[in-house]
Amino acid sequence: MTSRIDNKRCLKMYKQMLTIRRFEEKAIELFEHNLIRGNIHPCIGQEAVSVGACTPLRRDDFMVNTHRGHGNCIAKGADLKRMMAELFGKSTGYCKGKGGSMHIADFEGGNLGANGIVGGGLPIAAGAGIGIQNRGTDQVAVCFFGDGATNQGTFHESLNLAALWKLPVIFVCENNLYGLSTPVREAVSADHISDRAMAYGIPGMSIDGNDIIAVHTKMVEAVERARAGEGPTLLDCITYRFFGHFTGDPGKGITYRSKEEMGQWLERCPIKRFRERLIKEKRITEKMAKTMEANVTASIEEAVQFAKESPLPLPEEALQDLFH
C-alpha cells in the first residue's frame, strides 16, 4: 500500500524514477552517436532503489555513490544540466569535465561522489558517519554499493566499524544479481546478502528492490534508527539492470544472462509497476501521467541542449584543482 505516503511525495517519486530512466536512455543514445565518450554504466531497471532510498533523506544528509550512479545522483537532487554537461566532458559539468559519468559529485547537495573502485565508498560513508557523530547532528550517511562490493574487505571493515560505534550510516546494496558477468550465487557465500548483517549484529533485510514502496518503507525505518543514534542498517535491494554492465556489454549482457531471465525482469519494471499502482489507487490519471512524462522529456532535452552549448574546458584546466 502506498497509502502512508502522501500524494505529493508519491508523484515526486514517480517523476524522479522517470527522470532517471529518460536521462539514461538519452545518455545511451548520445553515447551511440559518439557525443558522449568513454562509457556509461546504466542503472535502468534499478530506479526504485535510487528513489526509494533517497526520498527519506534531507539535503544535508550525505550520500556515497557507485560507478552505476546517475540514478542516485538524480534522486539526491542533482541538477540534470550539470550532470549531462559532465557526461559531455564540458567545463559546466559538476566536475568541470574531470570526472565524467563514473565520477559525479555534488558536495552542496550532500553527494560525496561516485566511485570507480568496487567497495571504495564504504569506508568514506563510515567516515561521514564519524563526522556526524562528532558534531552531534542528526544527519545520516547513505552508502550505495553493488552485490560485488559485499565481497570486498572494505564492506566488512566498514560494517564492523559502523556497528561497533553505532554510526548513522545506512548501507544500501543495489543487488542487481551480477558483478559484471559473475552471478551473485557464484560469488556470495551467504544465501542472502542481508545475512551478512547478522555477523555485525545490525538489522539486515533483503527486499524487492523493484518495489519502490518496499524500499521506501524500509529506508524510512533505517533512517529513523540512524538519526536516533541506534546505528547502521543493511538493506539488500534485489533488482536488475536491464542494460547489462555498461554500454560496451554485448546484447545488454546476453553473454551471461538468458533471454528468458531478462524478459522476466522487464515484466517487473519498477516504473511500470509504480505507474500501475498509482493509477489503480487513483493518485494519478493517465492524462496527468502523460503530462508528467512530457515534462520529464522536456527537462532532459533542456539538459542536453545545455551540455551541447557549454564550452569545452581549456586543455590547461587539466592542471588545475589538484591542490587547494
Binding site: 568541470k96 570526472g99 571504495g120 564504504l122 563510515a126 567516515g127 561521514a128 588545475q320
Partner: protein, 326 residues
C-alpha cells in the same frame, strides 16, 4: 635565553596538543592509541587531555584511512595514525585512488584536510614488514603532499602546518628518531610545507637529504670538513611539493650534488631529484649527481644484515669525494 631541547616524540605531542586545543574539528584515529598513547607513546597524554578525540579503531587499515577521508570531506580534520608506515599497503586504495584523487576528480569542489601519519624507517631489527621507507610511492600519486621531517623543530612546525593544510598530507616520521632531541620553539611555530632548509652552509658540494638521511649527511659533512670539503646540507623536509628553488640556488654555487636517503635505490626519491637536476641544471654540473640509498632488497632482520643493507655515513663520504674528485 638558551633554546629548549625536546625530542621528536615530545614535539609531535606538543604540535597536536596545541592544534587540538585550537580546533575542535581535529581528531586522531588509529590502532592502540589510548592505552599506550600510540604504539611508540607518541600521543602520550592526548587521550586524557582530549577525551573522545583520540579514537582506538579495530585493525582495519582500509577502513581507518577511508573513514578519515570521509570525515575530512564532511567538515572534520582527522589525523590517521598508520601504526607502521608498512601498513599503508592495506590502505593503498584509500590513499591512492580515493584520498589523492577526490578533489581533482570532482573538479575542486571540496577540500581534503586529512593527515596520514606514518612512522617509517629501519635500524631497529624490525625486519621486512616494519622497517620500510615508502615515501617515493606517494610522490608518484598526484594529489598528495609528502612530508619527511628530521629534526624535532621541523616535526613540530611541519605537523602543525600539515594539520592546517586543506590538502591531504602523508607525514612520514622515522621511528628511530623519536628520542632524538633538538631545540624547539615553544608555542606557535609553523614550518610551511614545500620549503627546504639549508641546515649547513658550504661551497664544495650540495647534499640533498631528508628524514634519517639528514643526520647521516650532517655527520658526513663534519668529517668531510676535516678534509677541506665544505658540504652544503639541504634538508628537503617536504618532498611534494618540492622546493626546487633552494636546490637550484645551492647547486649553482657548488656545481655538485649527492642525494641521500634511507629508502632503497631503484625508483627512490633520489632518482626523481637527480633527473630534475640533470634536465634543469646540467650546465652547472661539474660531476654526475650521485645517490646514496639502501640496497635493493627487503630489510633483513639480523642486525649484521640490516646494517649492511642500509646506507651509512661512509657511503655519503665516498659519494661526496667522488663528485669532488678528492
Amino acid at each position: 635565553m638558551p633554546e629548549r631541547m625536546i625530542s621528536c616524540a615530545v614535539a609531535i605531542c606538543e604540535a597536536l596538543t596545541e592544534e587540538m586545543a585550537r580546533d575542535e574539528a581535529i581528531f586522531i584515529i588509529g590502532e592502540d592509541l589510548v592505552a599506550h598513547g600510540g604504539i611508540f607513546g607518541q600521543f602520550k597524554g592526548l587521550p586524557e587531555r582530549f577525551p573522545g578525540r583520540v579514537i582506538d579503531s579495530p585493525i582495519s587499515e582500509s577502513c581507518i584511512v577511508g573513514a578519515g577521508l570521509g570525515a575530512a570531506l564532511t567538515g572534520m580534520r582527522p589525523l590517521v595514525d598508520m601504526h607502521f608506515a608498512d601498513f599503508v599497503t592495506c590502505a593503498m586504495d584509500e590513499i591512492v585512488n580515493q584520498t589523492a584523487k577526490i578533489r581533482y576528480m570532482f573538479g575542486g569542489q571540496v577540500k581534503v584536510p586529512l593527515v596520514i601519519w606514518a612512522p617509517d624507517g629501519a635500524g631497529l631489527s624490525a625486519a621486512a614488514h616494519h622497517s620500510q621507507s615508502l615515501e617515493s610511492w606517494f610522490i608518484h600519486a598526484p594529489g598528495l603532499k609528502v612530508v619527511v621531517p628530521s629534526e624535532p623543530a621541523d616535526v613540530k612546525g611541519l605537523l602543525k602546518a600539515a594539520i592546517r593544510d586543506d590538502d591531504p598530507v602523508i607525514f612520514f616520521q622515522h621511528k628511530k628518531l623519536f628520542a632524538r632531541e633538538g631545540p624547539v620553539p615553544e608555542g606557535e611555530h609553523i614550518v610551511p610545507l614545500g620549503k627546504a632548509a639549508v641546515k649547513r652552509p658550504g661551497g664544495s658540494v650540495t647534499i640533498l637529504t631528508y628524514g634519517s638521511g639528514f643526520y647521516m649527511s650532517m655527520e658526513a659533512a663534519n668529517e668531510l670538513a676535516g678534509m677541506g670539503i665544505e658540504a652544503e646540507v639541504i634538508d628537503l623536509r617536504t618532498l611534494k611539493p618540492l622546493d626546487f628553488e633552494t636546490i637550484a640556488d645551492s647547486i649553482k654555487k657548488t656545481n655538485r650534488a649527492v642525494v641521500v636517503h634511507e629508502a632503497c635505490l631503484s625508483g627512490g626519491f633520489g632518482a626523481e631529484v637527480s633527473a630534475r637536476i640533470n634536465s634543469e641544471l646540467f650546465d652547472y654540473l661539474d660531476a654526475p649527481v650521485l645517490r646514496v640509498a639502501a640496497k635493493d632488497v627487503p630489510i633483513p632482520f639480523s642486525p649484521r644484515l640490516e646494517n649492511f643493507v642500509l646506507p651509512k655515513v661512509e657511503d655519503v663520504i665516498k659519494a661526496v669525494r667522488q663528485v669532488t674528485y678528492r
